[in-house]
């Protein structure tokens, strides 16, 4: 078992004929992911890698291939439209890799998706990896081993750093979920923590947060109330100055709120050991899993 994606996922790539879409489709297929279709408006009838059919619309792709998961590589200005199209075509899980989608677009999209019952991961995220089964997105497959630690993170390469350090210590991952660095997004920490709590394969969870917003504080409260599995954490941005947006649209300390110190305090109060740097997470996990 794992969460969200497995070898059974039937994946559709929106924006499959673009540079990024094509490159990562190759990587996903090489990893063993079942990529069953692609969509690029105006390019229906073409093929990618000689075996993946391209459709003009998501509805046509779903009808022909039974795709249930979509990964979105389309440019930011068309991304909201692409996510809504996937939801309307009956896709159950949408993973939006695209960076730079206007926040008001995302508020409208998340509101609509909630009504449709569609799950959204991202945007501005690296996607999902269930080691040994499937990857949906851009996480390099070879940096993680299959295992029993769930990973949830707001940051891409920082996640790579952590799961790679775990691999070097012989520790594996059940699923890693990149929820993305935008202020308004689909799944948040709490949603993913709940899934890991219910997943029989997952025995411990790594939570990787960063400055800005209050998702980590809410996650800490959830962990205290509802999690029986051990959680370890890391928060990036302890040295970030207030009022400056640190790359991610969501990573900004506003009005003295959303600082790393507050988040670390909240996690520690929920009995979550917090690593001082990313590689230390692997050490903390070794301690916890040995207990």
């Amino acid at each position: 078992m794992s969460i969200l994606v497995s070898k059974k996922s039937r994946v559709l790539v929106q924006g499959i004929t673009g540079r990024e879409g094509r490159f990562h489709t190759e990587r996903m297929v090489a990893y063993g992911t079942q990529v069953v279709a692609g969509v690029t408006p105006g390019k229906g009838g073409e093929w990618v890698l000689d075996r993946i059919p391209v459709f003009d619309t998501v509805a046509a792709a779903v009808e022909a291939t039974g795709a249930d998961t979509s990964v979105i590589f389309v440019p930011a200005r068309f991304a909201a439209d692409a996510i809504l199209e996937a939801a309307d075509a009956g896709i159950k899980l949408v993973v939006a890799i695209t960076e730079g989608i206007p926040v008001q677009d995302m508020m409208r999209v998340t509101t609509y998706l909630q009504e449709k019952g569609t799950t959204l991961v991202g945007p501005n995220c690296p996607g999902l990896l269930t080691p040994g089964e499937a990857k949906v997105g851009i996480i390099p497959g070879n940096i993680a081993l299959p295992g029993n630690v769930g990973v949830v993170s707001r940051s891409g390469t920082l996640t790579y750093e952590v799961v790679y350090a775990m691999k070097l210590r012989g520790m594996g991952v059940s699923t890693t979920v990149g929820i993305g660095g935008d202020p308004v997004k689909g799944l948040d920490f709490i949603d993913v923590l709940r899934m890991f709590e219910e997943d029989p394969q997952t025995e411990a969870v790594v939570l990787i947060g960063e400055i800005g917003g209050s998702s980590e504080e809410q996650a800490a409260a959830f962990i205290r109330e509802h999690m029986t599995k051990p959680v370890v954490g890391f928060i990036a941005g302890q040295t970030a100055p207030p009022g400056k947006r640190m790359g991610h649209a969501g990573a900004i300390i506003e009005g003295g709120e959303g600082t790393a110190a507050e988040k670390i305090k909240a996690l520690q109060a929920a009995n979550v050991p917090v690593a001082r740097h990313p590689e230390e997470i692997a050490d903390l996990l070794v301690d916890i899993l040995r207990r």
């Binding site: 008001q104 998340t110 790579y160 308004v184 917003g213 990036a236 740097h277």
Partner: protein
């Protein structure tokens, strides 16, 4: 992107929010002429993109055109929190009976906009939120339905607004909402929204922040960007699609990914050093972009060492290495460098860098420790 007060108020006015008939000036003589034209007392207000300009002396009342010229002279030679004042807004002064706060911003946890109002206008709203949170009325706006009339009445009631002003308040609230929505704002704020002694409602101040990601569909707003308010290195960085923020330390950092870039700054500090910058070269950076990033870092004379931490995913280690070599040709840096390349094409990248005089590291902790040691003039 932040808009100036005069820009924000003009946008609000387009959507029906009443504002004073102010004018912008860049010289004391212009200010005097404007004051003469208005024919009464005026407020002269510094246009700078920082909070607290009132406290810093950037807003002054003047009773006569001559006095207006004098205060303008003073204000136009000020620097407020590091930003030189180049423009002032001249508004006719008004008699204020009551000051209200009205703002719309994004509530990221609720995933929708929130309208906030308070009877305690004219002061810092964050201060009100700390001191007496019950004084702020909040209502969430459905992103697909928009603001509703009953929501505005509900807020008016909760802030004890006298009923004779409800009609005017509703017009302002809907104007602000339309301005917020139509401009892709992340903040639209009127503080204070005043009721004058004559019983009129007027937006005396205005503040708006526009979503950078949405500027492509608002060329009129994008043109309003004030480059004076930004660090020149940050402007240069934006040109290359780099995310760069200057800090005070002496260890330059080049990293791919915002979260990892922050974590790299943090670990430098953990081992006793100080980062000189935040720099995310982004995903899939090519050699040219890396070279630009390198020039930015080395343009800071305080930098005593550079730490390059790349975890290849979409970004390829060999591309980064080529960029570093290209930049070294141009800049000829004299400071020591520590490189850590992991992930996609890391071996190829390290092989390319072999000839260059650089320290390498396997882990992030090792890289940070080496950078801190060499920045302090020691051996790694």
């Amino acid at each position: 992107m932040k808009l100036h007060e005069y820009q924000s108020k003009r946008v609000f006015a387009q959507y029906g929010v009443p504002i004073p008939p102010g004018k912008v000036a860049t010289t004391p003589e212009e200010v005097e002429a404007i004051a003469r034209e208005f024919g009464g007392p005026v407020a002269v207000k510094a246009q700078v993109l920082v909070g607290g300009r009132g406290k810093a002396g950037g807003i002054k009342l003047a009773r006569t055109p001559g006095e207006a010229r004098e205060v303008a002279q003073a204000i136009l030679s000020m620097t407020i929190k590091g930003l030189p004042v180049r423009k002032v807004l001249v508004d006719p002064a008004v008699d204020i009976a009551q000051e209200i706060y009205l703002g719309i911003t994004n509530d990221r946890a609720a995933r929708r906009p929130v309208l906030m109002a308070s009877s305690e206008g004219g002061v810092d709203i964050e201060e009100v939120a700390r001191r007496s949170p019950e004084k702020i009325a909040r209502v969430h706006i459905h992103p697909l339905l928009g603001l509703q009339g009953y929501q505005v009445r509900d807020v008016a009631l909760r802030i004890d607004l006298p009923r004779e002003h409800w009609k005017a308040f509703t017009k302002v609230a809907f104007g602000l909402w339309k301005a917020y929505q139509a401009s892709d704002a992340t903040l639209a704020e009127i503080n204070p929204l005043v009721i004058t002694a004559q019983g009129e409602m007027l937006a005396l101040d205005g503040k708006m922040i526009v979503d950078d990601n949405a500027l492509y569909r608002h060329p009129d707003l994008a043109e309003m960007r004030d480059l004076d308010a930004e660090d020149p290195t940050e402007i240069e960085a934006r040109k290359y699609g780099l995310s760069f923020i200057k800090l005070d330390g002496d260890i330059g950092c080049m990293v791919n990914g915002a979260g990892l870039a922050m974590a790299t700054m943090d670990i430098i500090k953990l081992y006793g050093g100080e980062p000189a910058n935040f720099l995310d070269i982004g995903g899939g950076a090519n050699a040219e972009k890396v070279a630009a990033a390198f020039r930015l870092i080395l343009s800071d004379p305080k930098v005593k060492a550079v730490l390059i931490n790349i975890f290849g995913g979409i970004t390829r280690g060999d591309e980064v290495a080529r960029g570093i070599l290209q930049a070294m040709e141009e800049v000829k840096p004299e400071v020591p460098m520590v490189v850590r390349l992991v992930g996609t094409n890391a071996e190829e990248g390290l092989a390319l860098l072999k000839g260059a005089d650089m320290l390498t590291a396997q882990t992030l902790a090792e890289a940070a420790q080496k950078a801190v040691a060499v920045a302090k003039g020691g051996e790694a």
